[in-house]
C-alpha cells in the first residue's frame, strides 16, 4: 500500500490544474475549492506516509523511455529527506492556498491563478519525489515555467512581464549547467539514478559543479541571483510560496539529495558561493525600501546560509534550516501581504508606521517571524542557524564561521529596521492612518505559521533527516538547551550577534521618519541601494555578447548568405548574359573578323602545337 501512495500526492494538483483550465475558468469558487482541496488531500496523504514511514526508503517506478543504453525511469522515491520536503511543500502550500483565496478575491483571472498555483505544486512535488536525475531535470524546468507563469501573472504590467522573462531565462542558464552535468554523469557512469557515482577525480568535480549550477539557478545563488528580487512583481502569496518556502528551497533540496556526487573541492566551492551570497544579500537588504524586496534579499541571504551548510558537509543542518526558514519566511511574506492588503497596495516602508494598533494580529505574528528569523533563543531560527554555525566552527572553517556571524548581525539589523519603521513610530502617510486588519481567512494561516516557527526548532527535525546522512549522536540533554551544551561558542556568538544587531537598529530607526543611513555612509548606501549594479552589469554583458553576436549573425545571414551567395549567383548570371548579348551586335564585319580570328587560332593550335 505504501508505494502506491506517492502517486496521488503528485498527480492530484495536476488534475486540479487541468480541470480548472479546461472547465471551471468561469466559476471562481469551484476552482478555488478544487485547488485547495487537491493540496489539502496531498498534505493528508503525506502526513499518513510520515506517520507510518518505516525505516526503509522505498521506490516505485515505471520506465519512461529506453533506447540503447539510455533508459529513463519515471519513479517516486520516499525517504526521510523527501518526506520532510513533502510535509513542507504541502503544509506551507496549503496555508498559502487558503491565504490566497482571500488575497486574490476580486481579481479578474482568479481561477487562472489557482490553476497556475496547482501546476506549481505539481512540479514542486515532482522535484521532491523524483528518483533520478533526468526526471528531476524535467520537473526542474516545469518549476521554472510555473514560476514564470506566476511571476508574470499580472501580464498587463510590463514590469511583471519583464520580471517573469528575466526569472525564466536566468533559471534556464542554471538548467544549462544542470543538463550538461547530467549528460556528463550519464556518459561516465551509464546510469541516471542518484546512486550512480562517478569515479573521484577532476571529472567528478566538474560534474558536481555543473549539477550545482542547476541549484545556483533555482535558488538564486551568487551569479544568478538577479531574478529573485524582481520576482516580487508577482502576487504576494506567490512570493511567499515560491520565493520563500518551496521553489528556492528546491535548489538546496537537490544539493542534499545528490550530496554524495560532490567531491571535496566541489563542496568548498559550494560553501563559499553560499557564504558570498549570504553576505552580499544581507548587505543589500540593509538599504532597500520596498517591504517585499527586503524580505526577498533576506531569503537570498538565508539560502546562502543553507548552501553554505551543505558545502560544509551538513545536509541535515541545511534541511533543518530550510524547514524552519520555510515557516517563518512564509509567515513574514504573508504578514507583509496582509500589510500591503491593508494599506491598499502600498509597498514602500517609509509610507507606513504605527500599524501596531490597527493590525494587532499581523503585528504579533510579524514579530514572531522576525524573532525567529534573527535567531532569538527559544524560537526555531536560533536552533537551525546555530547548528549551521556549530557545523562551521566544528569543521574548522573559521572564515565561514565569522562570515556567518556577520550575516547574523546584518540580518537582525535589517529585520528590526523593517519592524520599527513599519509597525512602531509615527504614521508616515494617511494610508497608514486608516489601515484595517485583514479578514479571518488571511490571519488564520498567519497564526498557524507563527506557531510552527516558534515550536519548529524543538520537534527534532535535524535527527529525523540526520539518520539518512549517518548522523548518529543521540541527544541525552534536553533539546531546548542542547546547543549551549554541544557548541557553546557558536550559540553564544549567535546570541551576541542578535543583541548587536538589535541595538544598532533600535538606535537608528526607533524614532526615524526618514532613513538616516544614507547620511552616515553616503557612497556605500547608494551602492547597496542599487544592488551592486549587478542588473546593469548583466544587461551590458548580454548586450555585448548575445545581441552583438545576434546582430553579426543577422548581418551575415542577410548580406553574406542572402546577398552574396543568392544575389551573387543571380547577379553573375545576369552579367554573363549581358556580356554575351554584346557579341550578337548585328555588325557583319565583326562576325567576319571573329570568324577569321577563330580560323587563325584553330589552325595555329592544330598545326603548330
Amino acid at each position: 500500500m505504501n508505494d502506491a501512495l506517492p502517486w496521488p500526492i503528485l498527480f492530484l494538483p495536476l488534475i486540479a490544474a487541468v480541470l480548472i483550465t479546461l472547465f471551471t475558468q468561469k466559476r471562481n469558487g469551484l476552482s478555488a475549492a478544487l485547488s485547495v482541496g487537491a493540496i489539502a488531500i496531498s498534505f493528508v496523504i503525506s502526513v499518513i506516509l510520515f506517520v507510518n514511514a518505516g525505516e526503509a526508503a522505498f521506490e516505485s517506478k515505471i520506465n519512461w523511455l529506453t533506447v540503447g543504453a539510455l533508459n529513463i525511469d519515471f519513479g517516486m522515491r520516499i525517504d526521510s529527506l523527501s518526506l520532510l520536503m513533502l510535509l513542507i511543500v504541502t503544509g506551507v502550500g496549503s496555508m498559502i492556498h487558503i491565504y490566497s483565496v482571500g488575497y486574490m478575491h476580486g481579481d479578474p483571472s482568479f481561477s487562472r491563478f489557482f490553476a497556475c498555483l496547482s501546476f506549481f505544486t505539481f512540479s514542486m512535488l515532482g522535484v521532491v519525489l523524483s528518483n533520478n536525475f533526468f526526471e528531476m531535470f524535467i520537473f526542474w524546468e516545469l518549476v521554472g515555467v510555473s514560476s514564470y507563469m506566476l511571476i508574470g501573472f499580472w501580464y498587463q504590467k510590463s514590469s511583471a512581464a519583464n520580471a517573469a522573462k528575466k526569472a525564466f531565462l536566468t533559471n534556464r542558464l542554471g538548467d544549462f549547467g544542470f543538463l550538461l552535468g547530467i549528460i556528463m554523469l550519464w556518459s561516465i557512469t551509464g546510469g541516471l539514478g542518484f546512486a550512480t557515482l562517478p569515479k573521484p577525480g577532476t571529472t567528478a568535480t566538474v560534474v558536481g559543479l555543473l549539477i550545482f549550477c542547476g541549484a545556483v539557478g533555482k535558488s538564486a545563488q551568487f551569479p544568478l541571483h538577479v531574478w529573485l528580487p524582481d520576482a516580487m512583481e508577482g502576487p504576494t502569496p506567490v512570493s511567499a510560496l515560491i520565493h520563500a518556502a518551496t521553489m528556492v528551497a528546491a535548489g538546496v533540496f537537490m544539493l542534499c539529495r545528490v550530496f554524495d556526487v560532490f567531491s571535496l573541492d566541489a563542496l568548498t566551492v559550494i560553501a563559499w558561493t553560499g557564504g558570498v551570497t549570504a553576505l552580499m544579500a544581507a548587505l543589500i537588504a540593509v538599504q532597500q525600501n520596498d517591504i517585499k524586496r527586503i524580505l526577498a534579499y533576506s531569503t537570498l541571504s538565508q539560502l546562502g546560509y543553507m548552501v553554505m551548510a551543505v558545502g560544509l558537509g551538513g545536509p541535515p543542518q541545511a534541511m533543518f534550516h530550510l524547514t524552519t526558514h520555510a515557516f517563518f519566511k512564509a509567515l513574514l511574506f504573508l504578514a507583509a501581504g496582509s500589510v500591503i492588503h491593508g494599506l491598499t497596495n502600498e509597498q514602500d516602508i517609509w509610507k507606513m508606521g504605527a500599524l501596531k494598533k490597527k493590525m494587532p494580529v499581523t503585528f504579533w505574528t510579524f514579530l514572531a517571524g522576525t524573532l525567529a528569523l534573527c535567531g532569538v533563543w527559544p524560537l526555531s531560527g536560533f536552533y537551525s542557524k546555530d547548528s549551521i554555525l556549530a557545523e562551521a566552527f566544528k569543521s574548522g572553517h573559521l572564515a565561514l564561521f565569522g562570515l556567518g556571524v556577520v550575516v547574523a548581525i546584518l540580518t537582525t539589523f535589517y529585520m528590526f529596521r523593517l519592524f520599527f519603521v513599519v509597525f512602531l513610530g509615527k504614521e508616515k502617510s494617511q494610508a497608514a492612518g486608516h489601515a484595517h486588519e485583514s479578514p479571518k481567512v488571511m490571519t488564520l494561516p498567519l497564526v498557524v505559521l507563527a506557531l510552527m516557527s516558534c515550536v519548529g526548532g524543538l520537534i527534532g527535525i535535524e535527527p529525523f533527516v540526520g539518520k539518512q546522512f549517518g548522523m548518529t549522536e543521540s541527544h541525552e540533554t534536553l533539546a531546548i538547551i542542547a546547543p549551549f551544551v554541544h557548541a557553546p561558542v557558536a550559540a553564544f556568538a549567535g546570541l551576541a550577534a542578535v543583541m548587536v544587531g538589535f541595538l544598532a537598529a533600535m538606535s537608528l530607526y526607533a524614532k526615524a521618519q526618514t532613513d538616516p543611513l544614507p547620511a552616515k555612509l553616503q557612497g556605500l548606501a547608494i551602492l547597496l541601494r542599487d544592488k551592486f549594479y549587478f542588473d546593469e552589469l548583466y544587461a551590458r554583458i548580454i548586450a555585448l555578447t548575445q545581441d552583438a553576436l545576434a546582430s553579426v549573425a543577422d548581418f551575415l545571414d542577410r548580406w553574406i548568405i542572402g546577398g552574396l551567395m543568392v544575389r551573387g549567383t543571380q547577379g553573375t548570371t545576369e552579367l554573363v548574359g549581358r556580356a554575351v548579348r554584346f557579341v550578337q551586335s548585328g555588325n557583319l564585319q565583326f562576325y567576319a573578323f571573329s570568324f577569321a580570328a577563330g580560323v587563325a587560332v584553330v589552325l595555329y593550335l592544330v598545326l603548330y602545337r
Partner: protein, 102 residues
Amino acid sequence: MTAPGLHHYLVISALLFCLGLFGVIVRRNILIIYMCLELMLNAANLALVSFSRFNNNLDGQVMVFFIITVAAAEVAVGLALIVALYRRRQTTDVHDLTTMKL
C-alpha cells in the same frame, strides 16, 4: 625561278583566299563583300584544279565544275537579296543593316 610545282599553286590560292577574306572583313559595301566572296571561291577552285593536275585524276576538275555552277546559283540568289535589301533600305552599307527585321 623553278618550274611551278604543286606548292606554288597552293601558295597562290592561299594568298588569293586571304585577300578575299580581308576584303570581306574590311570593305563596307555589301556588293564588294560579295565580290570578295567570289574571290575566295576561285581560290578554292584553283587549289582543287592544281591537286587534280598533280594527283593525276580528274575528280578535282569535276568538283570545280560543280562549284562553278553552285557559285552561279549563289550569285543569282544573293544579288536578288541585295536588290530587295537595297529597295527596302536604300543603302548597301553594312553598318546600316544590323537588324534582322527589315
